[in-house]
């Protein structure tokens, strides 16, 4: 199996907007530390789930993987090529192969554009095929996402459709250029429960049919079970733990993962569990705490956690954890 995406020391700091006078008077600039030197690999035809709370840097990571943002430091390589070093023309070509599915389908679709035009747009931009071929390709894609009859949907507007149907269009548009790598950023989060599983099933099916590789970004740990081969848990711009769903869920190692899992409400009154709720609030990403970013809220924090950033410990072939409680095997 080939590595399709490889991120090394990937970092993104956004400058904080400050008034001009303050900028002139002080030398020191402030930054929001959105992503802080993370490493991960995504293998071909696999799905990596990126799980975390809001503000943990998962969306920024997704955008960096597509070079929708430039990295402050570090690299993302796509089949061995660092995407941050690509020239304009080769980047344009790459855009065909890497795509994104957005969270909010109403915001992601132009309300004045017919469904068919929206789905065709990427083909127009990349000048793929003749107009007739494009039309046929769109119909084929609409059928693939189960919007049938496709001709009928082609000439409708997004507002005439339900939330689930709109998200199908967003998926169709992302996949029409036959990409290899797709970032799904909270792709099912906005949908109702009864529709959410439909869309998840569709994404799994399309992955098989089109040989896709997903980076599946979500705040909902339970959905990763169905679609992800591997999960990375993020907290304050760092990956604190990676492993399979089974490993992470049945045996969380990092104290933050333990808290996150215990907080997920179970839809079963007989399966209620003890909650570990960390004290305090998520620190401000402008002034990150020294040492381990989780130590101010961690119940198992030791002296060393306040001083030193924990190394990533390899627990097994599939499992990494970044915490001072563990030592290299």
């Amino acid at each position: 199996m080939q590595t399709i995406i490889k991120a090394r020391d990937l970092t993104k700091h956004f400058p904080v907007k400050e008034p001009l006078l303050k900028k002139l008077l002080t030398k020191e600039r402030k930054y929001v530390h959105a992503v802080n030197g993370i490493d991960f690999d995504i293998m071909e035809n696999q799905t990596l789930g990126l799980v975390g709370e809001s503000g943990s840097g998962k969306t920024t990571t997704g955008r960096l993987c597509l070079r929708l943002l430039d990295a402050t430091r570090g690299e993302v390589s796509y089949f061995g090529k660092n995407i941050f070093e690509l020239e304009k023309e080769s980047l344009r070509k790459l855009r065909k192969e890497i795509q994104i599915i957005f969270q909010d389908p109403l915001a992601a679709l132009n309300p004045y554009m017919k469904v068919g035009e929206a789905v065709r747009h990427p083909l127009d931009i990349h000048k793929i095929g003749t107009p007739k071929q494009r039309y046929e390709k769109v119909l084929e894609m609409l059928t693939k996402v189960n919007l049938e009859p496709a001709e009928d949907f082609y000439s409708r507007y997004p507002r005439e459709l339900s939330g689930g149907q709109r998200q199908r269009i967003v998926i169709a548009r992302a996949l029409i250029t036959e990409p290899k790598f797709v970032v799904a950023d909270e792709a099912v989060a906005m949908l109702d429960v009864s529709v959410r599983s439909q869309l998840l099933e569709l994404m799994i099916q399309l992955k098989k049919e089109m040989n896709l590789t997903y980076l599946f970004i979500t705040h909902d740990l339970a959905t990763t079970k169905y679609i992800c081969d591997k999960i990375a848990v993020m907290y304050l711009g760092n990956i604190v733990e990676t492993g399979s769903f089974e490993e992470i869920y049945t045996n969380p190692m990092h104290p933050y993962t333990k808290a996150l899992i215990s907080a997920v409400p179970e839809a079963d009154p007989e399966k209620q569990k003890e909650k570990i709720i960390p004290g305090g609030e998520v620190p401000n990403p402008i002034d990150l705490p020294e040492g381990c970013p989780f130590h101010p809220r961690c119940s198992e924090a030791k002296e060393i956690c306040k001083r030193e950033f924990p190394d990533t410990i390899k627990v097994s072939d599939t499992r990494n954890v970044s915490c001072h409680l563990y030592k290299n095997a």
Binding site: E201, D268, I277
Partner: protein, 333 residues
């Protein structure tokens, strides 16, 4: 109060229907809802977006837009509050019945300090001095785990979780008998959600109040509710105790909904879902609203709306598969 004193239900809805006027015509957002709750009970109302659950909450609080028609009767402590004059209703709203909204940022006034939110609420209903009101505010804020110093802060200075706690403090400061929480944790992260639910549960006991929890999240109601009502397309399709709903659901929609939520059982990797989409309330299907997605649909379902069928006492199923007083469905073997 009616004869019988304490035996009067805290809240009883009788054939409540809510119609909205829109540019395209009337929307029947809730139809013939019958439900009741005891004092200190937590009633969960679950359903997907557009099922009428928020409409129901707003109808109880009397905060629907003017062009809305509310039919039926809503008894609060034995008194029909729909027929109350506006002025009298205002004395109840905010004091005896209060509400926690979903989005704390839009519900708090951005240019008002927290203390002024509290003072306004308290002085509207209580004849107390400003100092006394401030003391009450301090206590309410400490109850939800926020330092009383924060009363001088503006809403934007707080995190999302803290703002929601302020909303809870505001709703509870006058010691209401009933609080309606409409998706109180939906915009929050899971860890913050767990914090907020803990606070709500604790305070409910302390203040001896009833609570209606309106949510789409079956995990949240499983934790908090005593009884649950399931809504679909404006109808209350099933109502029973929490255990009955989760362990022995009767309505095909409840069954399908419970199966379609992603669970955390590592051995169960099969995704199940309901085909189709929830109905658009502008054009609901004839008969049972779930008939076009129901796996057990019969001819009668497509032509007439099923009545409220009580298969047991306090166990309602709005489905043609069931008969009054019998928990067996018609095509069960």
């Amino acid at each position: 109060m009616r004869p019988g004193g304490d035996f009067v239900k805290l809240l009883k809805l009788e054939n409540v229907s809510v119609k909205y006027k829109t540019r395209e015509g009337w929307v029947l957002a809730a139809e013939d809802v019958n439900i009741s709750m005891e004092k200190q009970e937590t009633l969960g109302i679950v359903g997907e977006s557009g099922c009428g659950k928020s409409t129901l909450g707003n109808a109880i609080l009397g905060i629907l837009p003017r062009e809305t028609i509310v039919d039926g009767k809503i008894f609060f402590n034995g008194e029909d509050i729909i027929s109350l004059p506006r002025k009298k209703f205002r004395m109840i709203r905010g004091k005896d019945i209060s509400m926690i909204f979903q989005d704390p940022m839009t519900s708090l006034n951005p240019v008002m300090k927290l203390k002024h939110h509290f003072i306004e609420t308290i002085l509207t209903h209580k004849d107390v001095s400003k100092e006394e009101a401030l003391n009450m505010a301090e206590k309410a804020l400490t109850d939800v785990g926020i330092n009383a110093d924060r009363l001088n802060d503006y809403p934007f200075q707080l995190s999302g979780g803290m703002r929601q706690r302020v909303m809870i403090a505001l709703a509870l400061v006058l010691n209401p008998k009933l609080v309606i929480a409409d998706e109180p944790t939906t915009s929050l992260d899971v860890i913050v959600q767990a914090q907020i639910l803990n606070i709500l549960k604790g305070l409910q006991k302390e203040y001896n109040m009833g609570m209606i929890l309106i949510t789409h999240d079956l995990g949240v109601v499983a934790e908090v509710a005593d009884n649950i009502g399931v809504m679909y397309g404006g109808h209350l399709v099933e109502y029973s105790t929490k255990m009955n709903i989760y362990k022995d659901p009767k309505h095909p929609y409840t069954k399908a909904l419970l199966e379609s939520i992603p669970n955390t059982d590592i051995n169960d990797r099969e995704l199940t879902f309901i085909e189709g989409y929830p109905p658009d309330l502008m054009s609901v299907p004839e008969g049972c609203r779930f008939s076009d997605r129901c796996p057990k649909v019969m001819d009668i379902c497509k032509s007439s709306t099923p009545p409220d069928i009580f298969i047991e006492e306090n166990r309602l199923v709005k489905c043609w598969l069931y008969k009054e007083g019998s928990a067996q469905s018609a095509n069960d073997n």
